[in-house]
């Protein structure tokens, strides 16, 4: 049974302290409800410090934060990617010492079923648009070049990233190889020098 802490209407440090006390008394999982964003950040910060997973859902006028111990959850390999994304949230993680670069080298995410992989990749690109701090650059090469061309389901989300200030760069050699050179629908074409330089200068490289 998960234990519930209703900290709505309460100011820091009470949401954090009541959650801490519930964890000490009952162990994880604990669900905490908070109604202000700073309290949410402080509870999530404590969870990280305690090595717990925090899953936050926005509800009408409040947040529901579920704290679980990571061992119990049985980590799905793909979850590590989500953790990487969480690290990008402002105020949560140490800021990286340079721009964040997303490198996509396939049109499918993960190894296994490629139909599933393509659906995951579509979800991943959408999830990038939802980050508080957008990546500086998205590099697309080999199969990844199929994501930025006419007809690809990921084009709209890549356009959203571009409007948010991200640079979308697709490998020209790869577009040529797949016969897609005329079909580029978002961002610009790049070469291997720029790809190598961008990755070398990155503070953090994210690879789905």
């Amino acid at each position: 049974m998960e234990h519930m802490v209703d900290a709505r209407g309460k100011a820091c440090p009470l949401p954090v302290i009541e959650t801490r006390n519930a964890l000490r008394g009952h162990g994880a999982p604990v669900v905490t409800l908070v109604d202000n964003d700073i309290a949410r950040q402080n509870v999530e910060k404590m969870a990280r410090q305690l090595g717990l997973a925090a899953e936050t859902q926005k509800e009408a006028g409040f947040w529901r934060i579920t704290l679980t111990s990571e061992q119990e959850g049985g980590m799905d390999p793909d979850d590590t990617q989500l953790d990487d994304l969480m690290e990008q949230m402002p105020g949560c993680a140490l800021p990286a010492q340079g721009p964040t670069v997303v490198v996509i080298s396939s049109d499918a995410m993960g190894v296994g079923d490629d139909t599933l992989g393509r659906a995951l990749m579509k979800g991943f690109v959408y999830a990038l648009t939802q980050l508080d701090e957008a990546p500086a650059t998205v590099l697309l090469y080999n199969g990844g070049a199929k994501l930025s061309v006419e007809g690809a389901e990921t084009v709209e989300d890549l356009k959203t990233l571009e409007e948010g200030g991200a640079e979308i760069l697709t490998c020209g050699t790869c577009l040529n190889h797949y016969g897609l050179t005329e079909k580029l629908a978002v961002g610009s074409v790049t070469n291997m020098y720029v790809i190598a330089e961008t990755m070398a200068k990155a503070g953090k490289v994210i690879r789905p």
Binding site: A11, C12, K45, P95, Q97
Partner: protein, 341 residues
């Protein structure tokens, strides 16, 4: 004095509006054009400075907040010490002060008397005259001072005039916000908390008098925005501050309070504000929290010539509060502020 003060949601400097929100609002105000206004709101400095003659500039500041202590006399001392501090952070001396009071109509007026007694004693200790004030009925107690001082126009200590090679010296320990938060929940160690109170009621006058004997190029006081928030106000595009977390002066049990998660909303707001400006390498959770901890009546942060730093620090230590050389100013590297363990 039976009735203790009630803690409000966040007392002392934790009650400050967040720096990010504040910058947005202030950006919309018209800019003053009087050339005699040497330091105004634009430079995010500690106090306003207005030149009256070749030799005299007037320094003005104002600070007030809800109680962070349940003893009204001590609260009055802390609030006054905190308000007077901005004059010292500009290198000035205190001349006059006016009380700012919010007080509930139904509350025992003896409590107000104790607050004002504490405040007035600090104004006298600062060498100033309490010259009046203004009070309004309000639901919560709030107290502070509007302070006027003077400074020689050539000896103004601005925030952002530090030089490459300067050492950064902090004159009071960090951790006041964490200890006050633990105390609100009845969890503070009594002796450690007494240390926090002693720090909060120590005028920055004494540290400023020591600093005046040395080549100090810039100064600010560390209050609600925390060490990194106020350090940011000292930075320029051509400077990087390198901070050694192990050298930070901290109050007893402050790290324990962080590890027990006595976290303030203000501390998290400070973290959000500083996140894009500061790179923290390999610090413990508690060290990070201390960097962002909102300080009520915190110390002066001085940028002092590298050759003068050891002597200044030695003299500062005789004042009896934990203090330390916490870092240095370098030419701009990859980030504005770098913090190492």
């Amino acid at each position: 004095m039976g009735e203790p003060l009630k803690f409000c949601r966040g007392g002392g400097c934790t009650a400050k509006l967040g720096p990010a929100a504040l910058s947005r609002v202030l950006a919309g105000l018209p800019r003053p054009t009087d050339p005699n206004l040497l330091i105004g709101a634009q430079s995010s400095d500690d106090a306003a400075v207005y030149q009256l003659t070749d030799d005299i500039a007037m320094v003005q500041t104002l600070d007030f907040f809800p109680p962070m202590l349940d003893d009204p006399y001590l609260f009055g001392q802390v609030a006054a010490t905190n308000a007077l501090s901005d004059i010292y952070a500009m290198g000035g001396e205190v001349k006059t002060a006016l009380n700012i009071v919010c007080f509930p109509e139904e509350m025992d007026l003896n409590i107000l008397g104790e607050i004002l007694r504490g405040g007035s004693e600090k104004v006298v200790e600062a060498g100033g005259s309490l010259a009046g004030g203004h009070s309004i009925a309000d639901q919560e107690v709030k107290y502070g001072l509007s302070v006027t001082g003077v400074v020689h126009p050539q000896r103004i200590l601005a925030n952002n005039t530090g030089r490459v090679g300067d050492r950064l010296i902090l004159t009071k320990p960090l951790g006041v916000g964490l200890l006050c938060t633990a105390a609100r929940l009845g969890q503070a160690d009594a002796k450690a908390f007494a240390g926090a109170v002693k720090s909060m009621i120590t005028l920055n006058k004494y540290a400023a008098e020591v600093a005046a004997k040395y080549r100090v190029h810039a100064a600010t006081d560390v209050t609600g925005f925390g060490l990194l928030g106020h350090l940011h106000e000292m930075m320029r595009p051509d400077l990087t501050a390198r901070i050694y977390a192990h050298a930070l002066p901290v109050l007893d049990t402050a790290y324990d309070c962080a590890n027990e998660f006595y976290l303030t909303a203000a501390g998290q707001r400070n973290r959000n504000f500083a996140a894009s400006r500061a790179v923290l390498h390999g610090l413990s959770f508690a060290q990070e929290e201390l960097l962002f901890d909102p300080q009520t009546s915190g110390g002066l942060l001085l940028a002092v010539d590298g050759e003068d730093a050891p002597a200044l620090l030695t003299e500062l230590r005789t004042l009896g509060l934990p203090c330390g050389e916490i870092g240095q100013l370098l030419p701009r590297l990859e980030a504005e502020i770098l913090v190492e363990p």
